[in-house]
């Protein structure tokens, strides 16, 4: 860590550490919250729910045309029902899947806050919630894609979805070539969080062992 980084003294409590701890203590004393429930909430979104969920959904849609049809028709059911994956609940109550094709590239943003499909992607990354992304995605999505190192053909339509309601959008990226015969697990390992937001595309590593 650089010497001038803001968190270079891990033993010193920041102002926010002190303030948040004080409020947590007060809320526990009041009986409004259970400290063990806090740990459960943190563990849920730090370790259990995340983009690996969405990657499994994408991999199945790539592998199973009937599942893909279901996902595009009713993503809430295809993702949430037992015959799908059982990924349900908070910030994923009404899911919609958007299919990327050579003709249409979908990109999801929430300009007003940070709406994001938690059951399939977990909590959003900092950049998704930050002013640069929220301001720029709707006016210059190709510029945003360039920030991610992605360049699309000029003839591809760029469609931006601003999540202003309680509908949560999951992008179904294009399956990369050279993946014939891949298992769902192998495919899921290729799928990135950014590709499911629309700021990335899924690519096949050059070869096993090419880590660059």
């Amino acid at each position: 860590m650089a010497d001038n980084a803001p968190h270079s003294h891990p033993n010193a409590l920041s102002d926010m550490d002190v303030r948040v701890r004080a409020l947590e203590t007060l809320l526990v004393q009041k009986g409004y919250i259970d400290p063990a429930a806090l740990d459960e909430l943190i563990d849920t979104y730090e370790h259990r729910v995340g983009p690996h969920n969405g990657a499994r959904v994408v991999a199945r849609a790539w592998s199973d045309p009937a599942y893909k049809e279901w996902l595009l028709r009713d993503a809430t059911a295809a993702v949430g029902e037992p015959g799908g994956f059982g990924f349900v609940g908070r910030q994923g109550e009404h899911l919609i899947a958007l299919e990327n094709t050579p003709k249409v590239h979908n990109l999801v943003v929430c300009t007003l806050c940070s709406c994001y499909p938690w059951p399939v992607l977990g909590l959003p990354p900092v950049w998704y919630k930050s002013a640069p992304y929220r301001s720029k995605a709707v006016i210059d999505p190709r510029g945003v894609l360039a920030d991610f190192g992605v360049s699309l053909p000029a003839h591809t339509e760029v469609r931006v979805w601003d999540s202003t309601a309680e509908l949560r959008y999951l992008v179904l990226p294009m399956r990369p070539g050279g993946t014939d015969g891949f298992s769902e697990a192998q495919l899921a390992a290729l799928v990135t969080r950014d590709a499911m937001i629309g700021t990335g595309i899924v690519t096949l590593p050059q070869s096993a062992g090419a880590n660059a």
């Binding site: 948040v20 004080a22 259970d34 429930a37 943190i42 640069p132 301001s135 709707v138 601003d162």
Partner: protein, 241 residues
């Protein structure tokens, strides 16, 4: 409210800066701020629209200078004091000075998964038929309410095309004020990048989810003068698509 949260189309923030191998939380206090916010919401004294409205009530300078979880924390403090769950003196001193509000019991650890799984679906029945149909040209209202709204500034008084009808959903503008869910038909409306931003935008289309009262028939110019004409029989535009 025309606050700092309404960021779409602003310039000057610089490039988006993704962080490689980003952790879910960047500090212990972020974990705790996230968790106490969600757990306090379980107490049922506010809804998600009130929570968003509280975060948006930060002044623009404070909002833009705050990190995401700092905004959440400040929003939580405002909600807790507004509902009388915590006194301003308690926030200031960090000491318990008053009895808790009656009737609130903490959600225990073993019920967290169930509460998260239930979530907060917003779909509701709406008695009247939908006014607009897929493919119809609509104009958004030139609406600048002082309270919470989900129609971004960049999409106001603009003509677009309905591309989806989603059923009835809780209306955030009233729900945020405690004036009821007042569910309305929810549509996705597609605007061309040129309509929103002129010639230079790299967006081909921007799609915004719009409640029915944000919209009017683009081919009925009298509506702009007369305002909304809710419930008029002759305005029926077909049922759910």
């Amino acid at each position: 409210m025309n606050g700092a949260q309404d960021l779409g189309g602003m310039m000057g923030f610089g490039p988006v800066q993704p962080e490689a191998d980003e952790p879910v939380f960047h500090a212990e206090w972020e974990r705790r701020a996230f968790a106490i916010t969600v757990a306090s919401g379980f107490c049922g004294r506010w809804n998600i629209d009130m929570a968003r409205s509280a975060r948006e009530s930060l002044s623009p300078p404070q909002y833009l200078a705050s990190s995401y979880y700092e905004i959440w924390f400040e929003g939580l403090r405002r909600l807790l004091t507004a509902r009388g769950m915590v006194g301003a003196d308690e926030l200031e001193t960090g000491s318990l000075l008053r009895a808790p509000l009656p009737g609130i019991s903490a959600v225990p650890r073993e019920r967290v998964a169930e509460v998260l799984a239930r979530g907060g679906p917003t779909e509701r029945a709406v008695a009247s038929p939908a006014r607009f149909r897929v493919g119809q040209s609509v104009r958004t209202g030139n609406l600048h309410p002082t309270g919470h709204t989900r129609l971004p500034r960049y999409a106001r008084d603009k003509v677009g095309t309905v591309v989806a009808l989603h059923g009835g959903h809780v209306f955030p503008d009233t729900n945020a004020r405690g004036e009821g869910e007042s569910p309305q038909w929810l549509y996705t409306v597609a605007f061309s990048g040129r309509t929103l931003w002129g010639e230079l935008s790299s967006a081909d289309s921007v799609r915004v989810d719009c409640w029915e009262s944000y919209l009017m028939d683009a081919d009925a110019p009298d509506e702009r003068q007369d305002g909304r004409q809710d419930g008029r029989e002759d305005r029926r535009a077909g049922g759910p698509a």
